[in-house]
């Protein structure tokens, strides 16, 4: 027997993923950003809420008038852009990861249930999903946030409420295919209860597309949170979010380009990284999809 005995298909996929250095690099970048976010209080050079109008719109270090204690300059209230960027990562990435995780767990469970049980549960869940899909995302989010008021828990609730549908549709579709497989019939033939079949036989088999979609949606959720915060419906000061920083920067765009540019860049880089990582993940799970 070869040395490669006992490698699960998931392990093999991760090995392929590690060889794909672009996607792996993107994932590494996201992990680094996440670590920075976690260590924000220790890493950030200044208090992100520490305002001082004497430093108002101090430019980045490499331009005239910049200095090393505020490397990316200061915003319209004299707060350190770098420190705010670091603390902003907590909200942006935190909401992205938390919302997608929660929505994926809820959506995938509901999707497997609907796809496996069919009938009435499927009809009810699918109609709810159709209705939710009918709303344009931003309109849905703005409307709901407008009703509930801004705030961290409300933004999470709003995004999860819309986001679970994505995982639901993927999981349901994959389950419809998986439930016809012989191994499901074999499990039934050996007396496996339905709950166990869903959890232990079907779930592991539909996990890879669900994970791939979850990574793509993380990029989407980060953008949604940034958009809501940009519109003032997201997290409220003193909490910092990249979307809110872009909004702050818009007011002073003519005098201090750096205030809006750096959080904008941060959003862009994280979203691109998440998209590329998810593409790599898809190709690792399904090598045939490689172009």
């Amino acid at each position: 027997m070869s040395a490669s005995l006992a490698l699960s298909p998931g392990t093999l996929a991760l090995r392929r993923f590690r060889r794909d250095w672009v996607s792996f690099g993107c994932l590494a970048f996201l992990v680094i950003v996440a670590l920075v976010a976690i260590g924000a209080p220790w890493i950030a050079p200044h208090d992100p809420a520490d305002a001082d109008l004497l430093r108002r719109l101090q430019p980045p270090v490499w331009t005239d008038g910049g200095d090393w204690s505020y490397p990316l300059g200061c915003d319209g209230l004299g707060r350190d852009v770098l420190s705010r960027l670091i603390f902003g990562a907590r909200i942006s990435l935190g909401i992205g990861i938390f919302v997608v995780s929660l929505a994926t767990v809820i959506g995938a469970s509901a999707g497997v249930l609907a796809g496996f049980a069919r009938g009435i549960p499927d009809a009810i869940l699918s109609r709810i999903a159709d209705v939710l899909l009918g709303f344009p995302y931003l309109v849905f989010a703005i409307g709901l946030m407008g009703m509930m008021g801004p705030g961290l828990s409300n933004i999470v609730l709003t995004l999860v409420l819309k986001e679970w549908v994505v995982a639901f549709r993927v999981a349901r579709g994959e389950t419809l295919a998986a439930r016809r497989q012989d191994y499901v019939e074999a499990a039934r033939a050996l007396g496996c209860p339905r709950g166990r079949i869903m959890r232990d036989e079907i779930m592991p088999n539909i996990l890879s597309p669900v994970l791939v979609v979850a990574t793509v949606r993380m990029a989407g959720v980060i953008i949604m949170e940034a958009s809501l915060s940009f519109l003032g419906l997201g997290v409220q000061p003193p909490a910092v979010s990249w979307g809110g920083m872009v909004a702050d920067g818009r007011d002073v765009l003519a005098d201090g380009w750096w205030v809006a540019t750096f959080p904008g860049l941060a959003i862009m880089l994280v979203v691109i990284a998440a998209n590329l990582a998810s593409q790599g993940l898809r190709e690792a799970f399904d090598p045939k999809s490689r172009r």
Binding site: L5, A6, D182, A187, G191, P193, R196, N205
Partner: protein, 322 residues
């Protein structure tokens, strides 16, 4: 004759389609005796697999199952509640599917799949006990290095090993009847022989009954005690395996026998049975084999009941003399 452990009478399975009801199983009577090996033979579409899926209550809607009785050790399986039926499946009657590659879950290790079956029946409390049982089972089915193979995934095993692993999963709870649906279809000939030998050996050692569902009459002659030949949703001939193969009474069985290639008749022509199985949406009222039969007579247009004989039965109007 001992009482049968499994007794099927008047089993009908129909699948409604847009163009009519497909009567896949149409009045099957079948007995499985304690400790015996019963071969169920027939070509694709003759209803062999569906018969046993129906026995285990695995025909999914819109399929419709009716029967006079499906009695398992005195209990009528048709009257069991879903949870009771589930307890019978796997623990008392186990089924292995045709293709081991697709019947094993591709993303779970062999050990996990055995553990799964044991846990589903609450067979062992602790996971250590279940693991020990899993090792024991792999040893039983002749998989070398069982402790190591527990962690192997189906794609890492050869076809024969996969078949053995699937048998191990099926035997996990020590069933009294194992239904092996085409256990050798996807295997090459030498491995086929090994798997069949293993099944026969397990039957003797575990004292269980074995149903071998196959389209290969040669396998039946060698490994089974009795045989039931199915054609067009019905059993057309039953009897001791050796007698049925050496002296078939139904023309269809005779046709199957004539189409077995053998070494001692290398120059003999293999005679295929002409024609095809009739349309299962509209079975003929008379003998269902009449259109393909070389001995066709006038009586063949009338319905053919099973004619009992001392050692079985035959559904043919020409076989009365036998």
């Amino acid at each position: 004759m001992t009482d049968p452990v499994l007794r099927i009478r008047g089993l009908h399975v129909g699948f409604p389609t847009d163009t009519g009801i497909v009567r896949a199983v149409d009045g099957v009577d079948l007995d499985v005796l304690a400790g015996e090996c019963l071969g169920v033979v027939g070509e694709s579409g003759s209803g062999k697999t569906v018969t046993f899926l129906a026995t285990l209550g695995l025909v999914a809607p819109p399929g419709v199952v009716t029967a006079e009785t499906i009695s398992w050790k005195g209990r009528d399986l048709l009257k069991l509640r879903a949870a009771e039926m589930r307890a019978v499946r796997g623990r008392e009657i186990a089924l292995t599917m045709q293709d081991a590659l697709t019947a094993l879950n591709p993303v779970l290790s062999i050990g996990t799949q055995i553990d799964e079956t044991l846990a589903a029946h609450g067979a062992y409390r602790s996971s250590t006990d279940r693991r020990a049982r899993a090792v024991e089972l792999l040893q039983l089915v002749g998989i070398p290095e069982p402790a190591r193979r527990l962690r192997a995934y189906p794609y890492e095993l050869s076809g024969g090993m996969r078949q053995r692993a699937m048998i191990a999963v099926a035997l996990a709870c020590g069933p009294d009847l194992l239904i092996a649906d085409e256990p050798t279809t996807a295997l090459d000939v030498t491995v086929q022989a090994q798997v069949l030998e293993l099944l026969g050996d397990l039957r003797a050692r575990l004292g269980m009954s074995l149903v071998l569902v196959t389209h290969n009459l040669a396998i039946v002659a060698e490994h089974c005690d009795r045989v039931a030949v199915m054609y067009a949703g019905q059993v057309v001939e039953t009897g001791p395996a050796v007698r049925v193969v050496s002296a078939p009474r139904h023309p269809y069985t005779a046709g199957l026998v004539a189409s077995i290639p053998t070494v001692d008749r290398l120059d003999a022509e293999i005679v295929p049975i002409p024609g095809r199985i009739p349309d299962p949406r509209a079975w003929p009222t008379g003998c269902r084999f009449a259109d393909r039969c070389g001995y066709r007579a006038d009586d063949c247009a009338t319905p053919q009941p099973m004619r009992p004989a001392t050692d079985g039965g035959v559904r043919c109007c020409l076989a009365d003399a036998a």
